[in-house]
Symmetry: C2
Subunit: 94 residues, 2 copies
């Protein structure tokens, strides 16, 4: 029942990574600088994103570049967070 995708998107650092490489492909170091996350943490998350098929990888010299697999992913993230906002307005939390 497609659990993997949702599980993968349910972590905010992974979503940040997706947004980050959504515009241009980036190498691991750039991503970790850009987001202020440890290199190995980024690497772990990229592995999960890759296994889900959410990102693609390409070696260029020493560096490994990652890019998003498709813009539908960003679209999905956006409409989800739009929905999230509208739900928050009439929220039931306590």
């Amino acid at each position: 029942m497609n659990d993997g995708l949702f599980k993968c998107l349910s972590d905010s650092n992974r979503r940040r990574i997706l947004y980050c490489i959504g515009e241009n492909e980036m190498c691991v170091n750039n991503i970790s600088e850009c987001l202020g996350l440890e290199q190995s943490l980024v690497s772990h998350h990229l592995r999960e994103l890759y296994q889900c098929g959410l990102v693609e990888r390409e070696r260029k010299g020493k560096k490994n570049f990652y890019r998003i697999s498709g813009m539908e992913i960003i679209e999905l993230l956006k409409s989800a967070s739009k929905l999230g906002d509208s739900l928050e307005e009439c929220a039931n939390d306590q």
Copy 2:
């Protein structure tokens, strides 16, 4: 960064509940019969869905009826699982 929504949608039983009440509102017993889940489990999940604002609740006599807060939720689920399918085709798992 709207973590709650994604976390909430990342569990397959919660998504099943959403689909289940997506068509008609239902009481807790019906949901648990319908999905073959324990009453208390359904209740716990409904609580989280409610706190996220994904479902609404209404008492009618002894029974508590739950309905989905809006059809955008189902739309989101559908487009997510569509995306999930297309990612699986070119998957990188092992």
